[in-house]
C-alpha cells in the first residue's frame, strides 16, 4: 500500500513540473490531467474512494475537457521565452526552495512522521458521504447548486459574440 503512494506521489510531482515548465499550453493541460489522475489514486489509497472517482469524473473529465477545448478554440500557441528580469531568473528557484523548505520544516516539526502512522480505516464510502452531505451540510449543498446556476449563466453570457 505505502510504496504505491510514493510511486503516484512521484508521478504527480513530475507531472506538476511538466505543467509549470512546458511551453505549449496543450502539453501543460495534458500534464495537469496526469496530476489529477495520480492524485485520484492517492485519494483512493487514503480511503476517500467516492472523492477519488468524483475527482476523475468532474475535475479530469469535465473541467480539464473545458480547458483543452478552450485551448484548441483559441489556438493558443507556444509561449515565447521572455527575458525580463535577471533577478527573477537567478533568485527565483532558490527562494522558492527556501520557502518550501521552511513550510516542510514546520510541518515535520508539528506532525512527526513516527507518531502519525496509524489511523483507523474510515469509510469514504458513498453512503457515508451522502448521509453527511444531506444531513449536516444540506444548506451548503443547496447553495452550491445556485452557485453552479449562476456560473452557467455567467459563462454563457460572457462568451457570447454579441449580447
Amino acid at each position: 500500500m505505502a510504496p504505491l503512494f510514493y510511486i503516484f506521489a512521484a508521478l504527480a510531482i513530475l507531472a506538476a513540473l511538466s505543467v509549470v515548465l512546458q511551453r505549449t499550453p496543450v502539453y501543460s493541460a495534458l500534464s495537469l490531467i496526469v496530476v489529477l489522475c495520480s492524485l485520484a489514486v492517492v485519494y483512493l489509497l487514503l480511503g476517500a474512494e467516492f472523492l477519488a472517482v468524483v475527482q476523475v469524473i468532474v475535475y479530469a473529465g469535465a473541467i480539464m475537457v473545458l480547458f483543452v477545448l478552450v485551448i484548441m478554440l483559441l489556438n493558443a500557441s507556444p509561449e515565447a521565452p521572455t527575458d525580463r528580469s535577471r533577478v527573477a531568473k537567478y533568485l527565483g528557484a532558490p527562494l522558492l526552495a527556501v520557502f518550501l523548505g521552511e513550510i516542510l520544516y514546520a510541518v515535520w516539526k508539528h506532525y512527526p512522521p513516527a507518531s502519525t502512522v496509524s489511523a483507523p480505516a474510515m469509510g469514504g464510502a458513498p453512503r457515508a458521504i451522502g448521509e453527511l452531505l444531506f444531513r449536516n451540510y444540506v444548506l451548503p449543498f443547496e447553495v452550491t447548486s445556485i452557485l453552479i446556476l449562476v456560473a452557467i449563466l455567467g459563462a454563457v453570457v460572457l462568451a457570447k459574440k454579441q449580447l
Binding site: L32, V42, L73, Y111, I129, I148, L158
Partner: protein
C-alpha cells in the same frame, strides 16, 4: 500506512509548484491551470487530515472545493475567451491597462 507528514509534504510541493507557475508564466490559460494545481494541493491536504483525524468533514469540504473549482473554471475561461476577442492575445503582458 503513510505518515501524515509525507502527505502534507506532497501537498506543499504541489502548492509551491503552482505558485511558481502562477508567477512565472505569461500565458493566461497556463496561469489558470497553475491555480487549479494549487486547489488540488489543498484538496490533498484536506483528505490527508481527514484520514488522520478520522473525520469525514474534510472530504465534504473537498467535495465543495471541487464544485467551486468547476464553477470558477467555467466563468474564468469564458472571461478569457471574451478578453481574447478584444485583445487578440493570450499573454498577460498585453493586459496591463484597465481600459479595454
Amino acid at each position: 500506512m503513510v505518515p501524515l507528514a509525507h502527505i502534507l509534504a506532497l501537498s506543499v510541493i504541489l502548492f509551491g509548484l503552482g505558485v511558481a507557475g502562477f508567477i512565472v508564466r505569461r500565458n493566461i490559460i497556463t496561469i489558470f491551470m497553475c491555480i487549479e494545481l494549487m486547489l488540488n494541493a489543498v484538496n490533498l491536504a484536506f483528505i490527508g487530515f481527514s484520514r488522520y483525524l478520522g473525520n469525514l468533514d474534510g472530504q465534504i469540504f473537498v467535495f465543495f472545493v471541487i464544485v467551486v473549482a468547476a464553477a470558477e473554471a467555467a466563468v474564468g475561461l469564458a472571461i478569457i475567451i471574451a478578453v481574447q476577442r478584444h485583445r487578440e492575445s493570450l499573454s498577460i503582458d498585453d493586459f496591463n491597462s484597465m481600459k479595454m
